[in-house]
């Protein structure tokens, strides 16, 4: 719609013809190199699994993850480019700054740690570690790491899973789990997760078989 027609196309100074240059549109909010500032809302995207990132990009563009800014920005892009974008950020393995000090009391943090490491069998809540890995740094190509994310972002995502605003392919395991969480569980988890340092050596394996079947782990369709 922007019918830009200039009279002269000047030869600008040399610049880098790279993916990083192309994706300045992303790093404006997600931070330099997609690393994200720990005090902001926008999540880090660097180093997350490529298949996970691709799935999220497609979900934003196609409306399964409702966020108008992302949907409009990605609307003119095809799957091939979304795949390239996902691969670019997935290959960035960057050191992370120490997490900010937590603003909540020790009891809340303990509750968060218990849920993340052990879950709550009585309520059918599996431990985060069971799928997201021993170090919570993600497993394989589809399961994202949970560390290095801002507390507000974690809160908003767990909330969105609970209300159904964020969805994944059926069976939607995260929706099932989030619906078993109370608001205070969400708050405790978000604060504990946001307070954990990102491990220098991510341990990309789950302690055992996944406790629930997840449509999003079946590979792209």
């Amino acid at each position: 719609m922007l019918w830009l027609a200039a009279t002269a196309a000047a030869a600008g100074p040399a610049f880098e013809d790279t993916m990083a240059q192309r994706l300045l549109a992303c790093t404006g909010c997600h931070g330099k190199d997609g690393r994200a500032a720990s005090d902001g809302y926008y999540p880090r995207i660097a180093g997350k699994p490529a298949a996970y990132l691709f799935r999220q990009l497609r979900a934003f563009r196609d409306g399964q993850r409702p966020y108008a800014l992302m949907a409009n920005l990605l609307a003119p892009l095809d799957d091939a480019y979304l795949q390239d974008i996902a691969s670019h950020f997935a290959t960035l393995k960057l050191p992370y700054a120490a997490p900010p000090p937590s603003r909540v009391d020790a009891a809340t943090l303990r509750q968060g740690r218990t849920l993340a490491q052990q879950g709550d069998a009585a309520r059918g809540i599996p431990a985060c570690q069971a799928c997201h890995g021993r170090a919570l740094s993600g497993v394989g190509a589809h399961v994202p790491g949970l560390l290095g994310l801002p507390v507000d972002y974690l809160n908003a995502q767990l909330g969105a899973w609970r209300t159904g605003a964020r969805r994944a392919e059926a069976p939607d395991c995260m929706a099932q789990i989030a619906q078993r969480l109370q608001p205070q569980d969400v708050n405790a988890l978000a604060h504990w997760l946001a307070a954990q340092p990102v491990p220098a050596q991510p341990i990309s394996e789950a302690p055992g078989p996944a406790p629930l079947r997840c449509g999003s782990m079946d590979g792209p369709r």
């Binding site: 922007l2 002269a8 409009n72 920005l73 609307a75």
Partner: protein, 414 residues
Amino acid sequence: MKRALAGLVGLSFVLAAALWWLNVRGDGDMQAAPVAVNRATLIERGAYLARAGNCQDCHTPRGAAPYSGGRGIPTPFGTVYSSNLTPDAATGIGAWTAAEFRRALHNGRSRDGRLLYPAFPYDNYTRIGAEDADALFAFLRSLPAAVQPNRPHALRFPYDTQLALAVWRALYFRPGRFEPQAMQSADWNRGAYLVQGLGHCSACHAGRNALGATRDPAALAGGLIPLQNWYAPSLGAQSPQPVAALLQRGVSDSAALLGPMAEVVLHSTQHLRQPDLSAMAAYLQSLPQVEAPHARAAVPTPTQLQRGASLYETRCAHCHGDDGQGRSRAYVPLAGNRALQRDPPANLVQVVLGGAFAASTAGNPRPFGMPPFATELSDEDVAAVLSYVRNAWGNRATAVQALDVQRWRSSVRP
């Protein structure tokens, strides 16, 4: 008194008959057999034409089965939902005949005779030839059937009534056909056929009146897309070669198609054959260029320009250059850029707030992006930086006001 009453009754009958006639004329021969051509060829031709018409975009909600319908088209009168075009017999067009499909395209009536809403641009499609209509029908019938009941429109009274629609059609819709101009070249005529018909360019590039009818659709003089708040500019008098290349690639050294038009490039124009793109460009070149009238002659204040300059230096110059010169094949130049100096500056506000990518196309598979500044810049900041770039490096245009930014900030994109 009795005679007056009888006269009144008579007059209402005449009006009703006229309204009825105005709505059924142009139905065409409902018994007509479809054009007999090799079916595979017809389907292939229909698939191409469906690209040219970008049918899939409106008839597919984001992430749903292609052509299964249900995408909401926001209008000032409420939301119109597109229909299921797959060959499912109960919920799609599986039970339709080719003649019924032609009537829908040419005269805006559904299989059961109901009047269709002109969000489905039958005021353009009435120019589609019968053979092309049959090809589109054959293509749609070849798709996998999706069971997806049509969603009722969510329109306000009285726009939700067939009577209102009948009156609207009597006022604004004339069934017609494409009449080639003997004085013009075959190329020009092909371009006119695509632009006026399937391409339905006037749906955005002609302004609309208070009742949503396009104003002088043939002139393509430009208009603000209601609710989306992108300005679809005048298409006349563009040099044909860059236009054809731009429709195919989505970008050129000096221009980029962004916003809703980038989606049109992604789904439609990049897939069109070179001769068709050239024909469309040749036709557009013959249209007069129309500059939107300046709503007001606001001149930016020195304070606003100063603020804009310092914002430009920190946020924009890295990519667009210290002198607005841009970077070849990546970032459009701002110096001397005509689109930048156009009124209303709605598109500039949208791009600064929401960021933008050009379409990924075969010729430009990995476009360079611009970040969104919606969360970072205030309405005043956006107005200042735009007023600055519209008046730097020899550019000259009216000031952008913070009020414009605020007005366009909350836009609806389907």
